[in-house]
């Protein structure tokens, strides 16, 4: 019975609205009493974040263990994931985060893999540019033209022969680009305000039912 009360969506919306408006109050009002309560709320949020990380890790382990147990398609990747997580967690618990095994795993596996993923972007930018240059629409034609000018203006050899390109590039970057950026940001900010209002007023029903 008690648990049913805590599941009521009105209670959830009331809590969301209270915390949201309190944090806004903290932003708007210069009052030490408000700031100290906010500091406590943020501590709770950090604590909750820590618990959620444990939950996320356990959920990932549960999901992949199930795949391995049922020998579903590509189960060996899940087995690899479970093994790596267990080695990382237990070596961290025994040796601490600065221990030899966690540090080795971080420096020799996670870090190079992350750098590799980031490096792939260079190739993806080229393939995305190639597809953009196929001019599927007027907008993409304009985008391609501006891209060619900006890229060419960054090339020292081209700018020796066509020095005017630098001024054209600077104009594109500081006038249409900044104008579009500000319009985009103002629109998105107003959209974010009304999304917040929907949540505070309990109208965003897709999130809490």
């Amino acid at each position: 019975m008690t648990s049913e009360i805590f599941k009521r969506k009105e209670l959830v919306f009331a809590l969301i609205a209270f915390l949201g408006l309190w944090l806004f109050l903290d932003y708007s009002v210069v009052e030490p009493g408000v700031q100290s309560v906010t500091a406590d709320i943020l501590k709770w949020a950090t604590l909750l974040g820590g618990f959620m990380l444990i939950y996320g890790g356990l959920e990932a382990l549960r999901y992949h263990s199930k795949v391995v147990y049922k020998k579903q398609r590509n189960w060996y990747w899940s087995a690899y994931f479970v093994a790596i997580v267990l080695v990382y967690v237990f070596s961290g618990l025994i040796q601490g985060s600065k221990g030899m095994i966690p540090q080795w795993l971080f420096n020799n596996m996670l870090d190079p893999a992350s750098a590799t993923m980031y490096s792939i972007l260079a190739f993806y930018i080229i393939s995305a540019l190639y597809r953009t240059l196929r001019l599927r629409s007027i907008e993409l034609a304009i985008l391609s033209l501006v891209t060619i000018i900006v890229v060419a203006a960054n090339d020292p050899i081209i700018t020796i022969y066509v020095p005017q390109l630098t001024a054209v590039r600077d104009w594109f970057i500081s006038v249409p680009n900044v104008g579009a950026n500000r319009g985009f940001v103002i629109g998105a900010a107003i959209g974010a305000i009304f999304l917040g209002v929907r949540v505070f007023l309990g109208r965003e029903r897709s999130l809490v039912r």
Partner: protein
């Protein structure tokens, strides 16, 4: 004596609440004008689910890299409200969906949204074919996990809406390589140049924030989009007034900036 730190911000938020309350009242009594402007990417969501159903392949979805406790929270919330609609359509058509989550705080919310969508669609058994997976808090581990699922499961449609940074291009290009129908959406300005040319449909900034309300088909939620348009008109008027005053050498901008 209480002093206010950001009076202009308070005034804008108070105005937003008043306009919203007024328009919600109008929606309740049925005097709110209907929305006339269509957002192609919102209409394309049905197409994305339909394509996956026809091909007998799954949909892959992510609400982005951010969580609910940062400044990017509205984008994550918008992504999650789109997830609600996508998963309901997927449940109705018995199409599997894979949801890749990058923040553990989002995981229970995404799991609950997908579960409730299956129940509301009247297909509780569909929960078994819907997968919500926590990938990693690390940006590129999350990106690698996401495109890995995309390639292994041969996703037919790739929907990524929320806060996206460098991984947006990785998702879009890997999705293109996997032959996915793609809908991207974010309010991160720097990623627009990647998402616009690489995706079939795009939710640009404020469209992302409005998508959830449009998809809900709920007049009270749609009323906030009318309120949004109203505040946008005020913003345009303020920009024009500031422009005119600056031309007349009235130092309005330096006054607002506190100079």
């Amino acid at each position: 004596m209480v002093s206010f730190a950001h009076p202009l911000t308070i005034a804008i938020l108070a105005l937003a609440f008043i306009i919203s309350y007024y328009n919600i009242r109008r929606a309740k009594i049925g005097t709110l004008p209907t929305l006339r402007r269509k957002i192609p990417a919102v209409d394309a969501i049905e197409q994305a689910v339909g394509r996956a159903t026809e091909l007998g392949r799954p949909i892959i979805f992510t609400p982005g890299l951010s969580s609910l406790e940062t400044i990017d929270a509205p984008q994550t919330l918008a992504g999650l409200s789109i997830l609600s609609y996508v998963s309901k359509l997927a449940a109705k058509t018995k199409t599997p969906i894979f949801v890749g989550v990058s923040k553990a705080t989002i995981l229970p919310l995404a799991q609950e949204i997908v579960k409730m969508a299956c129940l509301e669609a009247g297909v509780p058994e569909a929960v078994e074919t819907q997968h919500v997976e926590y990938l990693s808090d690390q940006q590129f581990a999350y990106a690698a996990g996401y495109i890995g699922i995309m390639a292994r499961e041969k996703a037919a449609s790739n929907i990524f809406t929320g806060t996206l940074w460098a991984e947006s291009l990785i998702f879009a290009e890997a999705g293109h390589a996997a032959g996915c129908f793609q809908i991207g959406g974010t309010a991160v300005w720097t990623q627009m140049a990647f998402i616009v040319p690489t995706c079939d449909f795009v939710l640009l900034g404020e469209e992302l924030m409005a998508a959830g309300a449009i998809l809900s088909n709920d007049p009270e939620q749609i009323s906030t989009i009318v309120s949004h348009d109203f505040l946008r008109l005020i913003a345009i008027a303020l920009v024009l007034i500031a422009f005119a005053l600056t031309l007349l050498k009235v130092p309005v901008l330096s006054y607002i900036n506190g100079g």
